[in-house]
Subunit: 340 residues, 2 copies
């Protein structure tokens, strides 16, 4: 059975070779099916754009199965209930869902989380009060374990994960060194209260980082990789912790970089300085930490101890260009598409 | 003041370029000084040969300061008290010390640990009941955290660290996969009770490792690096733990290997499989774990649950060749030089 509604969708047309291009996406319009028992029909209001989605466009082993060609592009959404065949949901309800890059989705009720629009702006459920904020909270506190007086460094520090990392580090008594690209982002890091804000596009990041962290770096929250990692590694102190959350600089890579092979040298640094490198996906920590995160972060937002920024693009048809822009670091704050 | 004794010493003559050669060592004979107040004059009975000493011959940042040219080569020793100017030590006492590559040493009493020759053969204080055994115990249990039914892999598995890792893993209910070079070592691994014994010199280690660990590897105790690490990495399960204890395959390297640069790929594996890489030096765990180690390991040796092997070379003058042989993996068991 279908409804009278028409659904504009954006699907994966081809696996990108390097940076995604327009031809890697395909648009179509289909009829919207009616929800089956236990399901809810949702209208997408906001779509979250996140770097991990680039990884799922590849046909490679990762922490999540890759998308198949033809699949609707995946993504978290804030949606409104249009029609409900599930107990507990009524038309007009606002929910956090995983509807993907389309105007409508039909989802089982158990995958939805109800949002209270009077408690916080609903878009925060995609950012500072959602997966990115929780990623920062869990990775920093469970793996990074910053201690008062220690130095925490983070790249992409104006993004939704990095900006939360720096602010939570300061709440826990650590010094926060933020790294991001360009003057606007440096200014934003300063507004966010980072102790030091470094532009990775300016020359000699290694030297400036050494000057910014004269006692070395105790926690490096890794969400970028590449040249920033190369600059950070020599500054890591004995017993430093590196939560490895993302490697945005590598996501569009089509081949391994030229040699020499520095992988053994990396293991040597891990050995000689008793470093901890720990990869993680936030869902590992949901059972033990999500409730505390919501409580803490809601309080920090209310008291102004944590600020957040959103970068909202209007219109689903612009999602591909906004996505590529985010991978290039053109957004300032959490990248969101306003769909309806 | 000096004694009438003459001390044969082996000192660092030059920093090795790659594998150490005879010219990197110099021999001399000097008078033995009398011990000052609080000091003890020791005659070296047994000298421990350990891979980490190769690192200290380089002029490079590591977990311990490098030796200087002209320094007596460093090493743990089992020694006998010849003359004591310290309370609590008398001629004839046997002690664990850090006398280095020489026949006599004068050391402050507080650096010595008294050994009871009736409790265990004194050479075990250099191996299974000493630093190598404790390295295995602390790294495996504090970082590797093997669970019953999990698979633990270790290379150099007939050496004093690796053989203890495999046997402790089995005591904790895990499957032990041992890797070492040559048929004699495979036979020895089988005697030690490893569930699977692999010869890294035979072809297709990657394939044989995959067959030996059909459910993947949960803990890899890293003390080798190089080609064994390359074979292990693809087999590591989600949430696998890698205590990084040594990188023997790299110690003689004079330059980085040819490309491509796989360091980013390594970080990618850490991320996509939520791996933990953790470097460590055993001394980190001495305050919290050494007492439990001595109790556990003494019990396991007495009950026969842990076996150990020693590879003893006679004569201090043969220490350099025995050391190079150990770096090449020619020893079977803990490498020790009997000095007197």
């Amino acid at each position: 059975m279908s409804t009278s509604l028409r659904n504009h969708r954006i699907r994966l047309a081809a696996r990108p070779h390097g940076e995604p291009v327009a031809e890697d996406f395909t648009h179509d319009v289909v009829e919207v099916p009616a929800p089956g028992p236990g399901e809810v029909l949702l209208r997408t209001r906001y779509l979250s754009l996140d770097p991990y989605v680039r990884g799922r466009m590849n046909d490679a082993r990762s922490y999540a199965a890759p998308m198949e060609i033809g699949d609707v592009m995946v993504g978290g959404t804030v949606s409104e209930v249009v029609e409900s065949a599930a107990e507990g949901f009524s038309p007009g309800d606002t929910v956090l869902s995983y509807g993907g890059w389309q105007e409508f989705s039909v989802e089982p009720a158990e995958r939805l989380r109800r949002l209270d629009p009077s408690a916080a702006p609903v878009t925060t459920a995609l950012g500072v009060l959602g997966m990115p904020g929780f990623t920062a909270y869990a990775g920093l506190l469970a793996i990074g374990k910053p201690q008062p007086g220690e130095t925490v460094a983070v790249a992409a520090a104006t993004g939704p994960v990095g900006s939360a990392v720096g602010q939570i580090a300061r709440i826990h008594g650590a010094r926060a060194v933020g790294i991001a690209g360009g003057e606007a982002k440096v200014a934003r890091m300063e507004e966010l209260g980072f102790d030091t804000a470094l532009d990775h596009r300016a020359p000699d990041l290694t030297g400036r980082l050494a000057a910014a962290a004269p006692d070395g770096i105790d926690v490096y929250f890794e969400n970028v990789g590449g040249a920033v990692w190369d600059a950070v590694l020599p500054q890591l102190n004995e017993f430093a912790r590196v939560p490895v959350c993302g490697l945005a600089a590598h996501y569009n890579a089509t081949s391994l970089p030229e040699g020499p092979d520095r992988s053994g040298q990396l293991l040597g640094a891990v050995l000689s300085r008793s470093l901890t490198l720990r990869g993680f996906i936030q869902r590992e920590f949901v059972p033990t930490m999500f409730e505390g995160f919501l409580r803490d972060m809601t309080g920090w937002l209310a008291s102004g101890r944590v600020q957040h920024t959103e970068d909202i693009t209007e219109g689903l048809q612009r999602a591909p260009e906004a996505f590529v822009g985010m991978l290039r670091g053109r957004n300032l704050g959490k990248a969101i598409v306003q769909v309806s």
